[in-house]
């Protein structure tokens, strides 16, 4: 079988590109780190790939606001290619800064609506007012809609590392749509998966939202970093785990799901 080919998009300030590529490789894909200049100058084309990943980092220094400059660049220069990519059933994932980019260019929560109503949500400064690096628990809350979490445990632990991760929808209608359409993929929770709100919600996100997908279920954006939990050795308490040797990190399943989907449907 031919391996799914993943484009890991880079630009100035991208910094989780290598580990994201590595996670996709562990999940069975072939990867290529591609600088946005190569796409803009048409030395590479998005259509040659089956999966798009926009990794974490501080693109353009998070100047003005996180993800804003890259979102603007993608919309100005590559919007058509991106829309075509998604319409061809191809999965897209934005992690941390990548999530911020997808939200700020309007591909999340729904690319269809952007023309009429503009961006529908934002990721803004944490309530604490500063960058925060910690492990959080995530509860999978959507149904099976999102292709990235088809076979996925209900509760996982994955680290966050961001200053601007507070999810804020434009209004109650947007939030209701997200809930009704089962687009909320992950919510911050406690280690039992039962409690929500502070202090388990690290940034003040509305409705404890940590990740959402678009209406097709193929575009996923999340603030936590699943690529940082693909081996038991990355878990903060791996020394306490039973049978640790058999366990890969829980983040790896996300990449596996994306790759499986691309192999099957793209």
């Amino acid at each position: 079988m031919k391996k799914a080919k993943v484009i890991v998009l880079r630009t100035a300030g991208t910094n989780c590109d290598m580990e994201t590529a590595y996670a996709f490789e562990l999940a069975g894909a072939e990867t290529e780190l591609v600088h946005i200049n190569a796409l803009v100058e048409k030395r590479k084309a998005l259509r040659e790939y089956q999966i798009l990943a926009i990794p974490g980092g501080f693109t353009y220094g998070d100047d003005v606001a996180s993800g804003r400059i890259l979102a603007n660049e993608l919309r100005s220069k590559l919007e058509d290619d991106l829309v075509r990519f998604i319409s061809k059933n191809k999965p897209v994932i934005g992690i941390c800064n990548g999530f911020q980019v997808l939200i700020k260019m309007g591909l999340l929560p729904s690319a269809d609506k952007i023309a009429d109503t503009g961006v529908q949500a934002t990721l803004t400064l944490n309530d604490s007012g500063r960058f925060d690096s910690r492990w959080v628990y995530l509860k999978k809350t959507g149904s099976e809609k999102c292709i990235w979490v088809k076979d996925f445990p209900d509760l996982v632990t994955i680290p966050i590392a961001h200053a601007e991760g507070k999810f804020v929808p434009r209004g109650a209608d947007v939030l209701k749509d997200l809930q009704d359409n089962e687009q909320i993929v992950f919510r911050y929770t406690d280690k039992t998966g039962k409690l929500f709100g502070r202090p388990y919600n690290p940034n003040g996100s509305i409705d404890d939202i940590a990740g959402i997908c678009d209406t097709t279920g193929r575009v996923l954006g999340l603030m936590p970093h699943p690529e940082r939990h693909i081996s038991y050795l990355q878990h903060p308490n791996w020394r306490r785990l039973q049978n640790k040797k058999h366990k890969l990190g829980t983040g790896l399943e996300i990449f596996r799901n994306g790759v499986k989907y691309a192999e099957k449907y793209v």
């Binding site: 910094n15 400059i69 603007n72």
Partner: protein, 960 residues
């Protein structure tokens, strides 16, 4: 060119974390009249653009349409009144504003071509009744720093700098007498001594001409203490005995004597290199950025970490930066504002600024900060210490560089501006209350994304073998970089070819500017085009500024004018050697304790846990990304709740290999007042203990030294430096741990209106080691109830400089000593049993002694313990319970062992002092029984943990 102002603020009802933070900080100043703070981002956009374009930029790029609103016409309407105060803060002209470049780029991406400049400023609207003095206090103490910023006034003129027109200049040195030479050194901010000025005069007298500013600046920079390490490398008469070269005869000698085959490159490149695996080497460098951080904590720390990251980037042919480590020394962060000496910033402001600077730069570079330490002492108030370190990894074949005649000198990265001029010489000066006024240009703001782009491009070009040598532009700028690279060949540089941030720089300013994020490469002509393409792909600017010649001369040109012509030999070897006097007098230390024994030590333990030097630094640690790159195997915060203090950090640079890098730091300036020899020995022992505690071995561990001292013109200060260096030699020799690189910063004193405050002599020892299998590493949190608790290592009556003495008001006493032979054999044994899987957790005992180490292990793991103090192995005659609990004797650990492993553990450890002191209990209480089986400590671990976490929470107003 026209200018437009765009104002952006949060919509009503949106929680504004920035404004809330400012309001809280105002209350911290003791000003209670403020009811609300509003915060507005202001962008000043210059160029040629239509109203429609301005609207598109404002709404599409500058404003978050969900949470913010924007005004690009006249600004939001704010009426100033008795109860409404408005202040706008902007960067001074010439100070880096990283957002400028991004906004111009975004405008171009949006099809708006005419925008030429974009500057950001911050506007605060403060509501409440405030006196004029209170308002000034708020602006000066919180909202701006005049070193890099100013308050925007109504009619601010926009001055466009004029291009520089060449004018021949020379400085009359041939006719200058001694007094005039000294005046020249001082007024020119050269900070050279009379003997050095005379050597320069003699050189030019032979040439029968006066020097140009470029020439004088080159010499001053190369001969600065910062670059030349005149004290450490100079001759010293120590208590009457001559030491020819202090560094070479102590710290560097140990490396020569040990002659480890895995030391690849030591003390010559930008960082020391050791072997990692059969294909890779790693390099490590730690250095300080103290004076800039004192004046502008954010920028100083930011450019500190930015600078040290360029060291591994510029080591060999370049290594990939993979780990950051940061160690700070501050004044007490809760000191009274009124007690802060004039010209110094409040330690809390310094702390917050330094942490933000390190955070922003390190995180944006995508490098995990895995380990660090923070020390507090009132003497650091005017002169804080900011140590930043970085580890890089490289394929073996890229470990060396070679400059040849004919290679082009290529500058890559940021542009050159007036920033940081005289940084190298300024670091040799004493800080005074006037420093903030005169040394502004030595302080700068960095742009981490520029450096990230440079790093990405460099490593690509390296792998393609497109350059022959590389070094970073640090202190001294091009002068230092080109001077060092061309030392054995010679170089000529055409200064007008350096890309500038703005017009108007004089040739010497271009030459010594310390503008950030620049590297210098030696490139063969045939590789130039390919190199340019690699850098262009990553948006990095490349400029050929000269070439290496074979004439051993440094020649500088500006357009067709020659502005410098010096012999490389004179620049590098012309510095007159002087012998400086150093004195050390043994002080008799009292061995007695000035206060009686107590019935119960619970209160003392809680107090020590709340001591600034001991308490939790979680508030700082969480602001650093410690997971990026995915290699973190032992994190700075450990235990089921991720809040216990880890010893060393362990990182796996390759995600498909079990091989790891262990990094630790040892520092304790409290012992310096007693004996710097034992301070140094303790720092080395501590750094190594941490490596052993996590499961590392001492077989392949290298050390870095960082000496931060007061003014070593004072023979006593210099004497204490010699004494610390001697300890470095003896300890490292026995431990078998060579030094591979180091740094010194020797003028750390603050002049508060004529009253000099010297920092305590401070030696930071950073250690790096290689671990074959990270799966064998352990963490310090207690793992299971029923497990046994041991103390490994002997406790002595060594209370001098201890935290226990500090909370009880006694200072002097016997210092903790190190018997390196015994310590080594103990650590080797412990290392073995950990490797064999016999140990569930281990923690090294340092500040606060056994009681603190044990408490930390328990509350990190969530268990209690019953402890019998009389089982602790002690030196004969040690009977006082407080000594056993709180003595800070070195070479000790607390170790958790499961009952199944008891026999094996005890058998393997039978040659070293070990005591089974108790067992882990499910009940979360720590009970310590004293010599008479009486309870001397009894408290819940939550109380211990709360005491430990409280200080920073309270300082930063965090919820618990």
């Amino acid at each position: 060119m026209k200018f437009a102002r765009v104002e952006v603020r949060d919509k009503k009802g949106v929680f504004d974390a920035v404004a809330v933070g400012v309001k809280r900080d105002i209350r911290d100043l003791g000003i209670n009249g403020v009811s609300e703070v509003e915060y507005i981002c202001v962008y000043t956009i210059g160029g040629d653009f239509s109203r429609e374009e301005l609207s598109r930029l404002s709404l599409g790029v500058l404003t978050d349409m969900i949470s913010q609103e924007c005004d690009y016409a006249s600004g939001f309407n704010v009426e100033e009144s008795e109860n409404v105060h408005v202040v706008e803060v902007a960067y001074n002209a010439g100070v880096m504003d990283p957002t400028s470049e991004s906004i111009i780029k975004a405008a171009k991406d949006s099809g708006i071509q005419g925008i030429m400049s974009a500057r950001s400023s911050k506007k605060y609207i403060i509501h409440g009744k405030l006196s004029k003095e209170e308002f000034v206090q708020i602006t000066d103490k919180l909202l701006y720093n005049k070193v890099i910023q100013h308050i925007v006034s109504e009619k601010e003129e926009k001055i466009m700098p004029e291009p520089y027109k060449f004018k021949h200049e020379e400085i009359d040195i041939m006719s200058a007498d001694d007094e005039a030479l000294l005046e020249l050194s001082f007024s020119g901010a050269l900070y050279l001594s009379l003997a050095e000025m005379k050597a320069i005069k003699e050189y030019f007298s032979k040439l029968k001409r006066n020097p140009t500013p470029c020439e004088l600046e080159t010499i001053a920079q190369t001969w600065s203490e910062h670059c030349k390490h005149k004290t450490m490398m100079g001759a010293v008469i120590y208590n009457g005995k001559r030491i020819e070269n202090l560094l070479s005869e102590t710290v560097m000698k140990v490396t020569r004597d040990l002659n480890k085959p895995w030391c690849v490159s030591v003390f010559k490149d930008n960082a020391g290199i050791i072997e990692f695996d059969s294909k890779h080497n790693i390099c490590f460098k730690v250095e300080t950025h103290n004076h800039p951080s004192a004046l502008e904590p954010y920028g100083g720390a930011e450019t500190g970490i930015g600078g040290v990251i360029r060291d591994p980037l510029g080591t060999g042919l370049g290594s990939k930066p993979i780990i950051n480590t940061d160690i700070f020394c501050f004044g007490l962060p809760d000191m009274e504002a009124l007690d802060v000496p004039k010209g110094a910033l409040h330690p809390k402001r310094v702390l917050k600024g330094v942490v933000s600077g390190v955070r922003d730069y390190g995180n944006k570079m995508g490098i995990p900060t895995t380990n660090g330490a923070v020390c507090f002492d009132p003497r650091y108030t005017g002169n804080p210490l900011v140590f930043c370190g970085n580890v890089g990894i490289m394929p073996k074949e890229f470990s060396f560089k070679q400059v040849s005649e004919g290679d082009l000198i290529v500058s890559v990265g940021g542009r050159t501006g007036r920033d940081g001029i005289h940084g190298a010489t300024f670091s040799s000066a004493e800080l005074t209350s006037e420093s903030e006024i005169c040394s502004g240009s030595a302080v700068q703001i960095g742009n981490p994304i520029t450096e990230k782009k440079v790093a990405d491009a460099l490593l690509k070009a390296r792998d393609l073998k497109l350059y022959e040598a590389i070094t970073d532009c640090g202190a001294g700028g091009f002068s230092s970089a080109v001077g060092e690279m061309g030392e054995n060949t010679g170089a000529e540089v055409y200064l007008e070819k350096a890309p500038l941030k703005y017009e108007g720089l004089k040739p010497w300013e271009i030459w010594v500017s310390e503008a950030q994020e620049r590297m210098v490469l030696a490139v063969k002509e045939k590789n130039l085009e390919a190199l340019k393409n690699v850098f262009k792909d990553e948006f990095v600017e490349v400029a050929v500024i000269g070439k290496f010649t074979g004439e051993k001369k440094l020649r500088l040109y500006y357009e067709e004018h020659k502005v410098a012509d010096l012999d490389m030999d004179f620049i590098h070897n012309g510095l007159p050697r002087t012998a400086r006097e150093a004195i050390w007098e043994e002080k008799e230390m009292p061995s007695d304790i000035h206060f009686p024994e107590k019935e119960d030590y619970t209160e003392d333990l809680l107090k020590i846990l709340s001591d600034w030097n001991v308490c939790s630094k979680e508030w700082i640690i969480r602001q650093y990304d410690h997971e990026v790159q995915g290699g973190s195997v032992l994190k700075p915060l450990v235990g089921p709740n991720c809040d216990g203090p880890a010893d060393a950090s362990v990182t796996r640079p390759f995600l498909d290999s079990p091989k790891g890098i262990v990094v630790s730091n040892g520092i304790n300036p409290a012992y310096a007042d007693i004996d710097p020899y034992w301070m140094a020995a303790s720092a080395i022992d501590e750094a190594l203990r941490q490596i052993v505690a996590v499961g590392g071995t001492l077989k392949k561990v290298a050390l870095l030294d960082n000496f931060c001292w007061g003014n070593t013109e004072d023979p006593r200060q210099l004497g204490s430096l010699v004494r610390a260096s001697e300890a470095c030699y003896r300890m490292a020799k026995v431990f078998g741990t060579p030094f591979i690189s180091g740094k010194d910063s020797l003028n750390n004193e603050f002049n508060a209106d004529g009253h000099k405050i010297s920092i305590p002599p401070t030696l930071l020892i950073s250690a790096i080691g290689v671990i074959d299998d990270v799966d064998k590493t352990i963490s310090m949190d207690i793992k299971r109830s029923g497990n046994l608790i041991y103390v490994v290592g002997k406790t002595y009556h060594e209370m001098g400089g201890s935290r226990y003495f500090a909370v009880n008001g006694q200072k002097l006493g016997l210092p903790p000593k190190v018997d390196p032979e015994r310590s080594l054999s103990l650590m080797e044994k412990l290392s073995e049993v950990i490797q064999e899987g016999l140990v569930a957790s281990a923690h090294d005992s340092s500040e606060g002694g056994l009681a603190v180490a044990l408490s930390e292990m328990l509350f990190a793991g969530g268990y209690g313990a019953r402890i019998r103090l009389k089982e602790v192995p002690v030196e004969e005659g040690v009977t006082r319970e407080d000594v056993i609990l709180f003595s800070e004797s070195n070479s000790r650990f607390i170790v958790e062992v499961s009952p199944e492993n008891k026999e094996m553990f005890e058998k393997k450890m039978n040659s070293v002092p070990v005591g089974l002191i108790g067992e882990v209990t499910e009940e979360t209480k720590l009970t310590v029984f004293g010599n008479e089986e009486n309870k001397i400590i009894e408290t819940d671990i939550d109380t211990l943990k709360e005491s430990w976490k409280k200080p920073f929470r309270k300082l930063m107003h965090e919820e618990s």
